[in-house]
C-alpha cells in the first residue's frame, strides 16, 4: 500500500461540479505535478463535505482543514501555502456553520464522548465514514490476533457493565454464553429503548450504527455465534432504516456474512422490529417477541446464556454496551478502565429532560455528581426556578430530592439511594412539579405497560394507581399511605420481571422523600405545587382586577361574573380549572390558591 502524507478530498457533488469542481481538481493535479508533490499528496473525489453552497470545496487531511470558494486560479497559491510551506491558507478556510442540534450539542467540559463520539460527525449511511474513524479496526484485531478467550478477557478487564440498566459485567455474560453447551448460539442486541425520555440508543443507532454492528460481530466471535438479531422498537423507524443500510454495506464489504475479512469466522445479522410493547425491553420478553410470540417475560433461571432465543444459548446486550466494545478492543481495556469509579468503569450516556436549561443527550464518565450533571452540564434549572427533584432510571426509577445532589453517579450509589441507573433517562423537575402527580403519572405508565402475566404486577399496579388518583382528586384517606407502602413492598418482592419489580420505585421514593406533599393532599386537601386540579382554586384579587371583563368573556363555562369596572368573581363550583382566565388577564389579577 502506498503512503501519502496528505489527502485532498474534493467535493464532486453536482452543485460543486456546476461551479467548476473539475477545473479545480485538474488544476490541483497539474500544480502538484509541477511542484513535485504528486507522490506525497493524493487527490480523491468525495461528496457531501459542506453543503456545496460555497463550492467548489475540498478537505485536506490529516489537518482536516475545509477550504471553499475556490477557483482553478487559486490553486497555485493554495498548493504553495499548504503543501510547500505547510501553512494553512486562511483566506479559503470555511467558517464551520454552527447548526443547532437540539439533541446533541458540543460536549461541555465535564463530558467525555466515547459512545457518542461519531454521532453528528459522520454520515451514518456511509460505512467509509465509520472506517475513516478507525471503524472495524477492532474487528480485524480480534479476528486475526486474538482468541475468543482473549477477547472476553479484555472485556472483563475493562470493567464494562451492561448499559441497559442492570449493570451486569459484560465479560462475565460472554463467558457464560461461551461456556454454555448447545448450538447454534445467538447474539442479540436489545434496541428496544422504551423508557420515556431516554433516546440515547436511538441516537447511536441513527448516528453511528456500525459501532453497534462491530460490537456485535466481536461478541459473536467471542461466544461462538453465527447469527445475530437487533431487536429495535417500531417507534424508531429511522433507526431501523439506518441499521438496514449499515448491515447491507457491511455485508458488501465482507464484514458480515461468510468468512468475515477472509477469516474462517462467519456471522450475519438481522433487524427485527417490535410492534409497540414496552415490556419487550425485558430480555426474556424480547426473545419471545423475536420468536413471533406475545412479548411476555418468563422466569429466570434458566438465563439466556443457557437457554435463550429458540431455547439456544444466547448473549443479549443493549445498544450502548455493544457500541463500547470496538473502542475497548481498539484502545485497550486499561484506557477504558481509566474512566469512571471503582466499580463503574467508562462513560454513560444520559438523556436530560424536563425543567433543565439544556435538555438533550450527554455522555459523562461515571462518578460525576448529580449536581454537576444538573448545573455544569445541564446549565441549571430553567427560568431561574428552584430544583425540586431528579428522576433517574426511567419509569421504574426513583425521584431524588436536593439533598442527594452530591451523590456520585454510578450503579451502586444510585441503587443505595433508592433509585437506579436504568438505561439513562434523567428527568429534572422544578418547584412547580407535584410529586404525587408524578408518582401517579409513572404508575399510570407501568400499569398500562404491565403485560398481565403475573398477578402482583397486573393487579397491584392498578390498585396503586387507583389510590394515587384518589389522592390527586382530593379524596385521599389517612390510611392510604400505609396501604401504598404495603402494596409497593409486595409488588417489588413478588413480580416476575424487572417491570413489576421496579414499578413501585417512583412511589416508594416519593413517599420517602416527599411524604409531606402526600400528607398535604390527604390531610389538608391541598396541592402545594398547585398542580392537582381538584385541589386548587382560581381567585381574582380585589384591587388588582380592573373589571375589564376579558376573563368573563373567555371563560368556557361562564364561571366568572361581575359588572364592568368592578372586581369579578369566579364560582369555584362551576370553574373547571382550565386556567384560560389567568392566561388572558392583562393585569395578573388572577391567582391559584
Amino acid at each position: 500500500m502506498k503512503f501519502y502524507r496528505s489527502h485532498v478530498l474534493v467535493c464532486v457533488d453536482p452543485e460543486c461540479l456546476k461551479k467548476g469542481a473539475h477545473e479545480v481538481m485538474d488544476a490541483l493535479q497539474d500544480e502538484l505535478v509541477a511542484q513535485g508533490l504528486i507522490e506525497e499528496v493524493q487527490v480523491l473525489e468525495t461528496s457531501r463535505i459542506g453543503g456545496c453552497d460555497q463550492g467548489p470545496e475540498l478537505m485536506v487531511y490529516p489537518e482536516g482543514v475545509h477550504y471553499s470558494n475556490l477557483t482553478a486560479d487559486d490553486i497555485a497559491f493554495l498548493v504553495e501555502e499548504h503543501f510547500l510551506k505547510g501553512r494553512i491558507a486562511q483566506k479559503f478556510v470555511t467558517e464551520e456553520k454552527a447548526f443547532a442540534d437540539e439533541e446533541l450539542s458540543a460536549p461541555t467540559a465535564k463530558e467525555i464522548r466515547v459512545v457518542l463520539r461519531n454521532c453528528g460527525k459522520i454520515d451514518p449511511e456511509n460505512i467509509e465514514d465509520y472506517i475513516a474513524e478507525d471503524g472495524y479496526q477492532a474487528l480485524g484485531k480480534v479476528l486475526f490476533e486474538s482468541t475468543p478467550e482473549q477477547v472476553i478477557d479484555e472485556v472483563l478487564k475493562s470493567g464494562l457493565r451492561g448499559r441497559g440498566g442492570a449493570g451486569f459485567p459484560t465479560g462475565k455474560k460472554w463467558q457464560f454464553a461461551r461456556a454454555s453447551q448447545g448450538s447454534p448460539k445467538y447474539v442479540i442486541c436489545n434496541a428496544d429503548e422504551g423508557d420515556p425520555g431516554a433516546f440515547m440508543n436511538r441516537r447511536v443507532l441513527e448516528g453511528d450504527p456500525h459501532s453497534v454492528i462491530e460490537g456485535m460481530i466481536i461478541a459473536a466471535y467471542a461466544i461462538g455465534a453465527n447469527q445475530g438479531y437487533i431487536y429495535c422498537r417500531a417507534e424508531y423507524p429511522i433507526a431501523v432504516k439506518t441499521l438496514r443500510i449499515a448491515i447491507d454495506q457491511a455485508r458488501n464489504l465482507g464484514l458480515l456474512g461468510k468468512n468475515i475479512l477472509g477469516s474462517d469466522f462467519s456471522f450475519d445479522l438481522e433487524v427485527r422490529m417490535g410492534a409497540g410493547a414496552f415490556v419487550c425491553g425485558e430480555e426474556t420478553a424480547l426473545m419471545a417477541s423475536i420468536e413471533g410470540q406475545r412479548g411476555e417475560p418468563r422466569p429466570r433461571p434458566p438465563f439466556p446464556a443457557v437457554k435463550g432465543l429458540f431455547a439456544k444459548p444466547s448473549n443479549i446486550n443493549n445498544v450502548e454496551t455493544y457500541a463500547n466494545i470496538p473502542q475497548i478492543i481498539f484502545r485497550g481495556a486499561e484506557w477504558f478502565a481509566g474512566m469512571g469509579t471503582e466499580k463503574s468503569k467508562g462513560t454513560k450516556t444520559f438523556a436530560l429532560a424536563g425543567d433543565v436549561q439544556h435538555t438533550g443527550l450527554i455522555e459523562i464518565p461515571f462518578g460525576l455528581t448529580l449536581r454537576e450533571i444538573v448545573y455544569d452540564v445541564g446549565g441549571g434549572i430553567k427560568d431561574g426556578k428552584k430544583f425540586k427533584a431528579i428522576q433517574t432510571g426511567g419509569p421504574m426509577g426513583g425521584c431524588l430530592p436536593e439533598s442527594y445532589l452530591d451523590l456520585p453517579v454510578d450503579y451502586e450509589a444510585l441503587t443505595q439511594a433508592g433509585s437506579m441507573m436504568g438505561s439513562g433517562g434523567l428527568v429534572i423537575m422544578d418547584e412547580d412539579t407535584c410529586m404525587v402527580d408524578i408518582a401517579r403519572f409513572f404508575m399510570d405508565f407501568t400499569q398500562d405497560e404491565s403485560c398481565g402475566k403475573c398477578t402482583p404486577c397486573r393487579v397491584g399496579t392498578r390498585r396503586i394507581l387507583e389510590i394515587l388518583e384518589r389522592i390527586c382528586a382530593g379524596k385521599g384517606q389517612p390510611e392510604d399511605l400505609d396501604t401504598l407502602e404495603y402494596l409497593c413492598a409486595q409488588i417489588k418482592e413478588d413480580s416476575l420481571c424487572g417491570l413489576g419489580q421496579g414499578a413501585p420505585t417512583p412511589v416508594i421514593s416519593t413517599l420517602k422523600h416527599f411524604r409531606k406533599e402526600y400528607e398535604a393532599h390527604i390531610l389538608e386537601k391541598r396541592c402545594p405545587a398547585k398542580v392537582c386540579k381538584p385541589l386548587i382554586r382560581y381567585e381574582i384579587i380585589d384591587g388588582i382586577c380592573t373589571g375589564c371583563t376579558v376573563c368573563a368573556r373567555n371563560c368556557p363555562v361562564n364561571a366568572i361574573s361581575g359588572e364592568r369596572r368592578t372586581t369579578h368573581v369566579i364560582d369555584p363550583d362551576v370553574c373547571i380549572r382550565c386556567g384560560i382566565c389567568m392566561q388572558v388577564c392583562n393585569f395578573n389579577a388572577i391567582v391559584i390558591n
Binding site: 417507534e235 409497540g276 414496552f278 420468536e291 429532560a353
Partner: protein, 159 residues
C-alpha cells in the same frame, strides 16, 4: 356486497404479499402482522383466517399475538391517526394541556374514532423525540414543540 368482496380480495392480497415477503414461519409473525397493519390500516378478521391457513398457526394464537402489541390494531381506524406522546418528558413541558386541546378539538377520547371516520386518537409510548416535546404525530408527520393553540391549525391541514 360487491364492496365486501373487493375488500376481502384486498385483505387476501395484503396477507399473501406479507407472507411472501417475510416467509411463512411463526418467527416472522410480527413483521407480517406489522406489514398487514400498515397496508390495510388495521388487521381485519379475514386476515387472521387467511394467515392461519398460510402459517398453519391457530387463529386464536394469531389474535393473541396481535392483541398484545399496541401498534397492531384489530379495529378499523380513522382516515388519519393522531398519536400523542404521553411520556413524562412531554408531560412536564406542557403535554397535558396539548392532550386536552386535541381531545377538545376532536370531541373524542383516547382510542376512539370520530363518528365520521376521519380521525382516530391514540397515545404512543415515547418516540425518543423528547428534546422537542410535546410531540404529536399525525399519520407519519411529526410535530414537535406543540402548544395547545397550534393544535387546531395542525389538524386543519388534514381535513
Amino acid at each position: 356486497m360487491q364492496g365486501n368482496d373487493k375488500d376481502g380480495a384486498l385483505v387476501k392480497e395484503a396477507v399473501h404479499a406479507a407472507v411472501e415477503h417475510f416467509g411463512s414461519s411463526q418467527d416472522e409473525l410480527i413483521p407480517i402482522l406489522n406489514e398487514i397493519n400498515r397496508t390495510i390500516g388495521y388487521i381485519p378478521g379475514e386476515a387472521f383466517d387467511e394467515l392461519s391457513s398460510l402459517l398453519r398457526v391457530p387463529r386464536s394464537q394469531l389474535f393473541s399475538v396481535a392483541s398484545f402489541y399496541r401498534m397492531l390494531s384489530t379495529k378499523p381506524r380513522g382516515k388519519h391517526v393522531i398519536q400523542f406522546c404521553e411520556s413524562a418528558p412531554c408531560h412536564v413541558v406542557g403535554g397535558r394541556e396539548v392532550w386536552q386541546a386535541i381531545k377538545d378539538f376532536l370531541k373524542i377520547e383516547e382510542d376512539e374514532t370520530t363518528p365520521d371516520g376521519h380521525w382516530t386518537l391514540v397515545t404512543t409510548s415515547c418516540l425518543g423525540l423528547c428534546s422537542v416535546g410535546p410531540v404529536m404525530v399525525v399519520d407519519d408527520d411529526i410535530y414537535g414543540n406543540v402548544d395547545p393553540a397550534q393544535v387546531a391549525n395542525i389538524l386543519e391541514k388534514y381535513r
